[in-house]
Every structure is written in C-alpha cells, then in structure tokens.
C-alpha cells in the first residue's frame, strides 16, 4: 500500500533535500524545524488499462453506455486535452490514444462515418503533427490527420458558435463542429484538481470571447484556490457555462487520473524521499547533476524535454461530466492530498523545468511566475500554505529567454507591459484588449505555433491571488534584472533569501518547503 503524504520536520538527521531550479536541481540543507510537505507515494497503476477503459465506456456514470449513443449518420466529435497535461508528457502509449482508439472501435462498429477529432487547446499554441501523434497514437493519426484531426482554432470566427449566455451574462462560445455534433466525447487526463469536469469543453474548445469571463483578475483573485473547485470562482463560472452547453449538446466525458511516477527510472532519485536514497541513487544524483551542469544549454533543454513520465493510470471514469469529475477529484485527492497543520511565514518552492505552457519550449520568466505564484501557490485547500503578508522563496535561474515562435506576445508583454506596471488589475484594464486583438499575434496563433496574444496576460493573472496575498517574493539564483522587472527580489542562496525575508516576516520565521514535483495538494488546516 502506498504511503500517504506527510509533513517532515527537518531535524539533525535530515540530509540535504532536493530542490528543482529550472533545468537543474540541487541539494539544499534546510534550517532545523523547516516543514517539508511530501506528496503521497505513487499509487499503483491499473494493470488492465484497456479493460478499465472498456468498462468505463460500457458502464458510464449518468449516461447510457457509449455504444447506445453511437449510430450511423450521426456527427461525432472527439475532443481531447492538449500537450499541456500531463507533465512531463506521458510515455507512449499516451492514455488518450488508448481511449480514443477504444471510442473509435465502438464508433466503427456502430457505422459512424462523420468523426472529427479536435485538440482542445483553447488559446494555447497549435500542436505540431508529431505532438498530436504522440497524444493520439499512430493508428488514429494515420487515419484522421490532417483533414479530420485538427487543433481547435479560437480565432476562426466561421468555425465558432455562440450558444448563449449564462445567468451571469457570460458568453458561451465554442468550436462550431463540436457544438453542432450529436455527441462530443471528451478525452481528458487529470494531473491537478483544477482540470477536467466543466473546464474541459467550456475552456478547451472556447474562444477568447468566452474565456475572458473567467480568465480575469477578479475571478482569479476570488478562486481560493482554483485547485479546490467548490471554492473557486473560476470553476463556478465553468459550471455556469457547462449548464448552457448541456442545453445544446450532449457531452460524454472520459476522465483519467495518473499517479506520481513523474520521472523515468534513470532519474528515479527525483521520485524518492532523500533519506531513502540508496548509494545508487546518490551516485545517480551526482552523475546527473554533473552531466546536467556541464551540458551545453541547448542539449540540456533537449534532454529535459525528451523526458517522458512513466505514469501509471489510477482511474478511468466516463459519462456525465459532473458525475465523472467527482470520481476524478477523489482519485486526485487520493494521490496528492497532504494534510498540513497551519500556515507558515515563508513558503519555499523549487520551480522545475516544465509547466503546462512550455512543453518542448522555453520556460520564460512570466511562466516561472505563473507556475510558482499561480500553480504551485494555489495547490492548496482551505488556506494558502503561507500566511497573508508572508514571503515566498522560489528557486529558478529566470533568464531573460523567450521562445520566439511559441511565445512572441510574451516578449512584448515583458518588455512593454511589465516595464510599466506589474499590477494585474492595471495590466488587465490598460493592455489586455490591445494584445488580445492584435492581428499579428492572431496570425501567429492561427498559422504558426504561437500562444495567443492574450496568453501572457492570463499567465500574469494566475499569480494575482498570490501577489495580493504575499508580502515578498524572493527568487534564489535568479537573474537580478529580470526578477526586478517582475517585481521580485533576488538572492544568491537560501541563507541570503531568509536574511532578506526577515524584513517582512521577522528573524525567526516558520518555513515550509513544498517538495514538488511530484504534484501534491496541501490541505491546510
């Protein structure tokens, strides 16, 4: 049986602990008394995944069995999560490919000819054919790409359909093909509690017009946290949109959850608790660390981004999105939830090399902020891990480096917007529209592999709650100029960072280090 997550208190026995710092990692000796939040051990994966998929499709929750929903002459759209989850990408075969194949087997048996597959990438960049192939598998790719297997285009006005408004006057506009289908089968992978459920179609297949209603500063500041859907204003908005969708189209969702096997065997020490490292793990650490530090930057990045996670699948559920998502959340909590007793003055985060928006790309400074202050800060239930007015220390080199193809609007956002202000509300009011409607960004989003012009704004908003909550953000090892532009301070070591934080939290602060990855969700009591 897997061990539950727990909070370690650093004592004189505790060896140095692993901290991720971008495309590197290090060992850090934390002060005595530091609390370290470890996620539960990886749950065992389902042995017969194909059997579990078949069972889910034939015995769905709140829907008729899938074969009964399929018939000749119908319009079937299969939408699936894009490459932003899971992280790192899953070793082949990706669970989505196995599900899509199972759905297509049933569709073929029912004589369904009109089948379209759409990657639900919302305002994310289009996926390359190779990336799509990795997700859907060779067989599906060969049969459907490119005519019937496409990326969703949130700027293709002709192929969007406005379905109505919610009771809060929010526009619900999604991919026309999906909206006009007799059935949408949505295939999802869940790595965090924020994903899946009402978010899948309402966000993945939506347009900017629809997304702006929940991806804004007000909503994100009132999502506490967005990984706790009942207390997330963002998810309340998704749910309202889902209600509108339910009036127009039938959605059969297939959600899956994965375990915490984040790194492959050769990096097995990254999945282990440090005091349980064997000699082999220690040797692997030293070898990997030295090789990583000595490798040229380009090669290092390539190696990290070629890492594939050997995730095990912990659950497959299908049927009505709301009912399915309940099961999914339970599985996520089983794998990630760790009870933490009380807040601390300082939280410490190691920011890894990857976040949802830089798969096969560069983790630019805005994404570092988004992952630290947005994603990791918000991995809590009840209350944040750090008290209001406390400090956050995060490890990342934060170089001023952007992927010119994937993140063109990020470059301008960093140069033009952040040089003026870092306040999310001001940025939203003053600059969002201009970037969102910029024709060049639109063109790059639709025809190149660029994130939408508005995307860096959303990334900045992800951190709005943390920015409001925290008294200080200190980045260990970061580029000073870049961090200053973002409104943060830099330190060369943890000791320096603690010294600097003493201005905000005093000389004897309580310290909590969130040991991530693998992902964990802190249940702060």
């Amino acid at each position: 049986m897997s061990r539950p997550g727990f909070v370690l208190e650093v004592d004189e026995r505790t060896p140095p602990l692993l901290v991720h710092a971008g495309e590197s990692f290090r060992l850090e000796q934390f002060p005595l008394g530091t609390r370290v939040v470890y996620p539960p051990d990886s749950l065992p994966g389902i042995r017969d995944v194909d059997g579990a998929i078949a069972d889910a499709l034939l015995n769905p929750l709140g829907r008729k069995p899938l074969p009964e929903l399929l018939h000749a002459g119908m319009k079937l759209t299969i939408a699936f999560d894009d490459l932003s989850i899971p992280l790192p990408p899953m070793q082949s075969p990706d669970i989505r490919s196995r599900i899509i194949e199972a759905v297509l087997e049933l569709a073929a048996a029912a004589g369904v000819d009109d089948v379209e597959l759409v990657a639900a990438n919302a305002l994310h960049r289009r996926m390359t054919p190779a990336e799509i192939k990795h997700i859907v598998g060779d067989r599906v790719f060969a049969s459907f790409f490119p005519e019937h297997l496409r990326n969703h285009d949130a700027e293709d006005r002709a192929n969007l359909l406005h379905l109505g408004k919610t009771k809060h006057d929010e526009d619900v506009e999604i991919n026309r093909r999906a909206a006009e289908s007799d059935l949408i089968v949505y295939v999802n992978v869940n790595l965090a509690a924020m994903s899946g459920g009402s978010k899948s179609v309402a966000v993945g297949l939506a347009s900017y017009k629809s997304l702006r209603h929940h991806h804004n500063v007000h909503t994100l500041r009132n999502s506490r946290s967005f990984n706790d859907p009942p207390n997330s204003a963002m998810h309340h908005s998704y749910d309202r949109m889902q209600a509108v969708l339910n009036e127009h189209v039938q959605i059969f969702t297939v959600e899956t959850t994965v375990n915490n096997d984040t790194f492959p065997k050769n990096l097995g020490f990254l999945n282990k608790r440090e005091w349980e490292w064997s000699l082999k793990d220690q040797a692997s650490y030293v070898a990997a660390k030295r090789a990583n530090d000595l490798a040229p930057a380009k090669l290092r990045r390539k190696i990290w981004h070629n890492t594939r996670a050997p995730y095990g699948v912990t659950g497959v559920h299908a049927g009505d999105p709301a009912l399915v998502h309940e099961k999914t959340l339970a599985n996520i909590h089983r794998q990630q939830l760790t009870e933490v007793n009380g807040q601390s003055d300082i939280a410490v985060l190691g920011i890894p090399y990857i976040c949802p928006y830089n798969v096969n790309s560069i983790m630019n400074p805005i994404l570092v902020m988004c992952f630290g202050l947005g994603y990791l800060f918000n991995m809590y239930r009840n209350k944040p891990i750090v008290r209001e007015g406390g400090a956050l220390i995060m490890y990342h080199p934060m170089p001023q480096e952007f992927h010119p193809v994937h993140h063109p609007s990020y470059i301008d956002f960093f140069d033009e917007v952040l040089s003026e202000t870092t306040d999310p509300a001001t940025i939203e009011a003053k600059y969002e529209k201009q970037f969102a409607e910029d024709e060049w960004y639109r063109h790059l989003y639709r025809n190149s592999y660029a994130y939408h012009g508005v995307h860096p704004f959303y990334m900045w908003y992800w951190g709005a709650h943390a920015m409001e909550h925290l008294g200080d953000v200190i980045c260990v090892g970061a580029d000073r100029k870049v961090a200053t532009r973002m409104g943060f301070r830099t330190a060369s070591s943890l000791a320096d960072a603690l010294e600097m934080a003493s201005d905000t939290v005093g000389r004897s602060p309580s310290l909590t280090y969130l040991h991530t990855p693998p992902m964990r969700l802190a249940d702060v009591r």
């Binding site: 026995r13 005091w275 030293v286 030295r290």
Partner: protein
C-alpha cells in the same frame, strides 16, 4: 560546484554506507523493507567448514572458556545421536551460541546450522557474511511469518544438517525465560526430527544484553543437555511445544535441584517457573544475575 563538493553535500548526514537515519517526523512512514535473501549456502561448503572449525575450536572456545567458566552436563544423553536434530535452548546472551556449539559433541556441532535473527545479524552484508561463516548461521525473520525459516530450515534438515533454534525468538531482557514460539516444534513434527533441549544458566549474568565482552572474574555458566525428544503419535504442535518448554524448564532446574530433584519436581508439578519472580524489573535482573555457586568441589557422581 566541484565534483568533490557535490559528493560531500550528497553524503552529508549519511553513514559510510550512504545510509541516512530516518528523520524523526518521518519514522512512522519509514518503508517496511522486504528482507533481501542473503545467500548462506556458501557457508556450508568444505572450505567454509574448515575455516569455521578453526575459528570455533581455535579462537572462540579458548576465548569463551578463558573469560567464563562453562560446565557442560548431560553430554552422555547425546551418545548415539548423529543428527539431524533440532537443538533448542533458552537464550539470554550472545555467549549462548558459542557455548552450545562447543558443548555439543563435535560430530553434531560440525553439522549444525544456527538460526539467527535476520534483522540483527543479516542487516548488513559484512555482518551477515561473518555470522554465516563463523556460526554457520542462516537468517530467521522474527517478525511476521518466519518466511526464511520455513524456506531454509527444512531444506537444511533434509540435507542432513542439524539446526539450532532459540524458541524464545530473541535474547532475554532480564535473564529469565519467555514463552516458546512453536516454530521448532512444528519443524520437528513436520519433518519427524528429534529435538535436543538444552538450558543455559549464568550466561546472562556473564554477558547480558548491552555488553560485548564477558564480565571480569570468569563467571560460572552451566549448560545442561537433555535427552532428544520426538513428537509422539498424534501429538499436536502446541502439545509438543509445551513438552519442549517443560523439558528446558526441567534442565534449568537441574542446576538448582540436581537431576533427581528436578525430575521429581517435574513429576509432582512443583518445578519453579523459569519466567522469574513476579517483581519489579530490578529484582528480576538482580536474581538472574546472581552468580551460580561453584559446584566443582561437590561434583556429584551422576554429573559429568
């Protein structure tokens, strides 16, 4: 950071084997380690036997006999016994194994393998190798299932080896005996192998838990060997285990009452329990460490 500094950092708060102690707050989540099977068959090869014979007779016996004053009673009860047998004894000291192996006739001790606690003697490779070589030891899981005993002990008996087991499972905390586990009786019943009961008195006083060298002054130790016992027709494992326990108790009492007195007390059911007085722990230790009287002057004719 240089390679050396990196190595220093990774080895900080770890021992020379690279092991770190589990932080206190993580102790309750320490993984239950599945014991690794330590191979001991090499310790029963001819070269290992030769080395062992040399160490036991040439080093251990002179050492133990020079530091303590062991007296062996009842060796005659083993005349004609060639093994395989299961030897059992009470267990109070690390001296017990060398005492027993040297008290047994050489024809038996040479072909005796010793069941040793896997979690104590087989936790590190160097200790496991040394224990296997010197005592012909094989690992026994004390907690949960006695998996290895089940696997190894029957094989050893089948291949003609005698087996020494301590049915209490561990050394006594205070010198007195604890209830017997039924493993030895079960093994005997299943494989129809006789059991040789033994009782050791004074070993706890000579070298109790926590000491790694005998007390000065050559304390006297008495080793009583009993008649081999076999399960009777239809006798159950619990019943046979009870009989073995009774036999060891009687041998234990022979030290105080003599052979006749102990036998009569056993017949009358008046044997003193070997579990010690129901008293505070210091009094129990006080009694168990009381030096054995030196009986060499009396030397009754029926003792050898």
């Amino acid at each position: 950071m240089s390679l050396i500094r990196e190595i220093k950092l990774v080895s900080r708060r770890r021992d020379w084997r690279g092991r770190s102690r589990t932080p206190r707050s993580a102790e309750q989540w320490a993984p239950v380690r599945e014991p690794r099977e330590f191979p001991t068959s090499w310790a029963r090869t001819r070269p290992a036997k030769v080395v062992r014979e040399g160490v036991q007779r040439g080093v251990l016996r002179p050492l133990v006999w020079s530091q303590t004053k062991p007296t062996v009673y009842g060796s005659d009860r083993l005349s004609g016994v060639d093994g395989p047998v299961i030897v059992i004894s009470n267990h109070a000291s690390h001296l017990d194994t060398p005492l027993i192996l040297n008290a047994l006739p050489a024809r038996l001790s040479r072909r005796t393998a010793v069941g040793a606690a896997a979690d104590y003697f087989f936790d590190a490779r160097w200790r496991a190798s040394l224990t296997a070589l010197v005592f012909n030891a094989f690992p026994i899981e004390r907690a949960g299932g006695a998996k290895r005993q089940k696997m190894l002990a029957p094989k050893l008996l089948e291949s003609g080896w005698s087996v020494l087991l301590f049915p209490e499972g561990t050394r006594s905390q205070d010198g007195w005996m604890k209830a017997f586990r039924r493993g030895a009786a079960q093994l005997s019943c299943q494989h129809n192998v006789p059991v040789v009961p033994m009782a050791i008195r004074g070993a706890y006083g000579a070298m109790p838990r926590g000491r790694n060298w005998p007390r000065p002054g050559r304390p006297r130790i008495a080793i009583h060997i009993g008649h081999p016992l076999s399960p009777k027709q239809g006798e159950t494992v619990p019943a046979f285990s009870g009989r073995l326990s009774q036999a060891v108790t009687q041998l234990w009492s022979e030290e105080d009452l003599g052979w006749w007195g102990a036998m009569r007390a056993a017949e009358q059911g008046t044997l003193q329990p070997t579990t010690g007085p129901q008293a505070s722990s210091w009094r129990r230790v006080w009694e168990s460490t009381r030096p054995l009287p030196d009986k060499s002057a009396k030397n009754p004719v029926w003792r050898r």
